[in-house]
């Protein structure tokens, strides 16, 4: 493809509550086997983008571990490859990334040393499938300066956590509002952009000169009348996981056969780091209904309407309902868990009870386990 890729995966926000203590949002486990960033990474490799940079900042340990080898996404190539850029102190700069535009500015060498004419920018917290070539075709056809992938939201309850846009009939974006307190618009930016590489370098350098650091506020919003910004409407599934509620709902969406077929059965595949777990094991006393179960799980109790990530252990007589159990969690015997998100590596004592009364409750408990 005629583009390089950049995935912005440095972010964190308060709306992930305790879940972001452990990791950047892009490293959040999603849909049993995956991490959030796998979707953008797989879309890039499936779109034949060969050179991809992941920009990280906040608590990157978990993310770096996930990206420790690029072979899972077929990026271990002589042509191209996967680059991970964490802020470093250099002769010119001793700042952390002060914003998205600044994070690109601090890694300008990556943009300058590439020869592909276009850049695809995506975020690490979107769950979707997209062939970026289609967006690029649209970008070229519209003679756009910047193309932004947008999605019309039917559910407007969380609209104020997005950037919202209004578009003309033929797709030109006329208005951009970032996280508005009140709006009657319902089309949101997915944080996916295509832009010509030279133009991006120019805009980023200009912003840096003016001491501006945010890509949306300081570039898109300011240039919307000068540059031709077009919206590409995404018609297929897209979800941003960056609040606890959205994270919970996105995982539960995978209990729907249509969503599973779309992501798991339809070509192309989503890839992730493979960690050699044995198949899931159901012992006597297990009773699993309407749930996703990942490899390495051992189940002795009841699981209903839930998503179990890898290597979860469910004890005898325990009941797990409408919950998300992250990797490596251990649920002791006779426990009752409802409407919860159990943090990875948690060890829940026998006879515990956790019920999320007002939306999903995040549970972290670390007790010694004696096998």
């Amino acid at each position: 493809m005629k583009a390089i890729g950049i995935i912005l995966a440095g972010g964190n926000n308060k709306m992930m509550r305790e879940l972001s203590n452990k990791r950047a949002i892009a490293a959040m486990p999603v849909a049993g086997s995956y991490r959030s960033i796998d979707f953008s990474l797989s879309n890039m490799t499936n779109s034949k983008i060969q050179r991809v940079a992941v920009i990280t900042q906040y608590n990157a340990r978990s993310l770096n571990e996930h990206l420790s080898s690029s072979k899972w996404w077929d990026f271990g190539r002589k042509q191209g490859g996967l680059f991970v850029f964490t802020p470093t102190i250099t002769a010119d700069s001793s700042y952390w990334y002060r914003g998205t535009a600044d994070s690109l500015y601090q890694n300008l060498h990556f943009l300058k040393n590439s020869h592909e004419p276009y850049v695809v920018i995506a975020s690490g917290d979107g769950v979707y499938k997209l062939d970026y070539n289609k967006v690029l075709e649209y970008h070229i056809e519209k003679k756009a300066d910047i193309t932004m992938v947008v999605k019309k939201m039917d559910d407007r309850s969380e609209i104020n956590r997005y950037g919202v846009v209004s578009m003309t009939e033929e797709g030109r974006i006329t208005e951009i509002d970032e996280k508005p307190l009140e709006t009657n618009l319902s089309t949101v930016s997915t944080g996916i952009y295509i832009i010509r590489r030279r133009l991006l370098i120019e805009l980023i350098e200009k912003a840096a000169e003016e001491d501006r650091h945010d890509f949306v506020r300081d570039i898109l919003m300011r240039y919307k009348n000068i540059k031709k910004i077009y919206g590409y409407k995404l018609q297929t599934y897209w979800s941003n996981i960056s609040t606890v509620e959205a994270y919970y709902k996105t995982n539960m969406d995978f209990l729907d056969r249509n969503v599973r077929n779309y992501f798991f059965k339809e070509y192309p595949d989503i890839y992730t780091k493979v960690d050699d777990m044995p198949p899931a094991k159901y012992n006597c006393g297990s009773n699993v209904k309407n749930s996703l179960i990942s490899s390495g799980c051992i189940i002795n109790g009841t699981v209903e309407g839930s998503v179990l990530f890898k290597k979860v252990y469910i004890g005898n007589n325990s009941v797990v309902k409408n919950s998300i159990i992250l990797n490596d969690a251990y649920i002791g015997d006779n426990s009752y868990i409802e409407n919860c998100i159990i943090e990875s590596g948690s060890t829940i004592k026998a006879n515990s009870k956790y019920v999320g009364e007002f939306g999903p409750q995040i549970v972290t408990e670390n007790n010694p386990v004696y096998y």
Binding site: A31, S33, D276, P278, P279, S286, L292, L308
Partner: protein
């Protein structure tokens, strides 16, 4: 100069004809096992876990699946700059080209492969056993005894000993006699088909025996070395080891994995078994599904009921279907309301709605009673079975079958329908 202390040669060319239609189109080491693995994953994982990073895999019979599975060895970390895994098929020579005619002949034809690594020791393995073993400990034992050949051997019940190659040892475990499948065994130490040779001894024996017809380790090389007063030792192994060469032993070994705490435990962090992952997504268990005492692979969707079974990856078990005491390999589809009892269903099989497998009384198989027995129904890969048919016990089906193949909609116990594959 390249130098590897020990390299492994893995014999994976055999057909495994006793697995019937399961090996109609794949070599035995590539047959699926345990819901996720293939048989060859066990010796390959043992190699890398034992620190052996140079493995030659000798292939001959139906190698496509095996080649695809092994690739350049990435799943086992056997993609190396020096060494790693090398697939070694028979090749044409300027004179006397031949297939691999026996286990030792296959190794003999690859002397040059071994020579390039300058090994001190060569480990000979076969690709049809399920076990976890640290070959490093066996090598230490070999060195401590100053042995020329060390044979791994395990105690078997004396009544079964006549099925194996039996070694008789002195108090130092030095082998004093060697009997191949004796009628009246004098010991219960059975050879496991795992040998460590000192390289010079192996090379010398292979060259001396190069004109031997169908040159075989058990029949020719070991007796030759024994007669030439080489130091042969038995390395006693007491862990789990299973030869899955017959349908009933293959079925049993799978079923042993579903015990509450299996003797052969895949869930331990120590000594992991690696495999090529063909499917990543989690499995989905539907609202009306029920699963008890089973293991289930990634990406599988269960809408029916599963008891005491081993289900592979990407399988679909539709609503109302009931699966009991069975093995279903990857990518197969079980139709609505199908009833399956004690069956082995290979990869990519499509079973129609309302099909019943394993009904009625046991009858001896008409064609191959030595292969199809123990009440099992065996379905070869890529088979299709039309909706509504009933299939008895001790039966085998391979290929795309239609209603005409089932007079009266039934394949009675002991029947066979073979429409595809090599061993028709």
């Amino acid at each position: 100069m390249i130098k590897k202390e020990m390299i492994a040669m893995l014999l994976a060319g055999g057909q495994g004809s006793r697995l019937g239609v399961l090996t109609a189109k794949v070599a035995k080491p590539a047959v699926a096992f345990g819901g996720k693995y293939r048989i060859i994953d066990f010796p390959l994982s043992n190699c890398i876990n034992s620190g052996i990073d140079t493995v030659g895999v000798l292939t001959q019979y139906q190698p496509l699946r095996l080649n695809t599975h092994i690739g350049i060895g990435i799943p086992w970390d056997l993609d190396r700059n020096v060494g790693g895994v090398t697939v070694l098929p028979p090749y044409e020579k300027s004179t006397s080209s031949e297939w691999y005619t026996g286990t030792a002949n296959a190794i003999y034809q690859n002397l040059e492969y071994m020579d390039q690594y300058n090994p001190d020791y060569v480990l000979i393995l076969s690709g049809d056993h399920i076990y976890k073993m640290d070959y490093k400990i066996m090598l230490d034992y070999h060195k401590a005894n100053n042995a020329d050949i060390t044979i791994a051997a395990m105690p078997v019940p004396i009544e079964e000993a006549s099925r194996f190659g039996i070694v008789i040892t002195d108090s130092d475990n030095r082998i004093t006699e060697f009997e191949e499948k004796p009628a009246n065994p004098r010991s219960n130490l059975a050879s496991m088909g795992i040998y460590i040779f000192s390289w010079k001894v192996l090379k010398d024996a292979l060259i001396k025996l190069k004109d031997q017809n169908e040159c075989d380790f058990g029949k020719h090389v070991i007796p030759y070395c024994f007669e030439n007063n080489r130091r042969l030792f038995a390395y006693e192994y007491n862990g789990y080891w299973k030869d899955v060469g017959t349908l009933s032993s293959y079925w049993e070994a799978n079923m042993e994995l579903i015990d509450l705490i299996p003797v052969f435990n895949l869930y331990e962090e120590f000594w992991k078994i690696y495999t090529k992952t063909d499917s990543i997504p989690p499995q989905y268990i539907a609202q009306d599904a029920y699963i008890e005492k089973s293991i289930i692979g990634d990406g599988t969707e269960v809408y029916g009921k599963v008891y005491n079974s081993v289900i592979g990856s990407n399988v679909v078990i539709e609503e109302g279907a009931v699966v009991r005491d069975s093995i279903i390999m990857q990518d197969s589809v079980i139709g609505k309301n199908a009833v399956i009892n004690k069956a082995i269903i290979a990869e990519e099989v499509v079973l129609g709605d309302n099909v019943e497998l394993g009904i009625g009384n046991e009858e001896e198989n008409q064609k191959l009673p030595k292969i199809y027995n123990s009440g099992l129904v065996t379905i070869g890969e890529c088979s299709e079975i039309p909706s509504g048919v009933k299939v008895g016990k001790n039966t085998a089906i391979s290929g795309k079958t239609t209603l005409e193949d089932y007079p009266g909609g039934t394949l009675p116990s002991g029947g066979v329908i073979i429409k595809a594959g090599d061993n028709v």
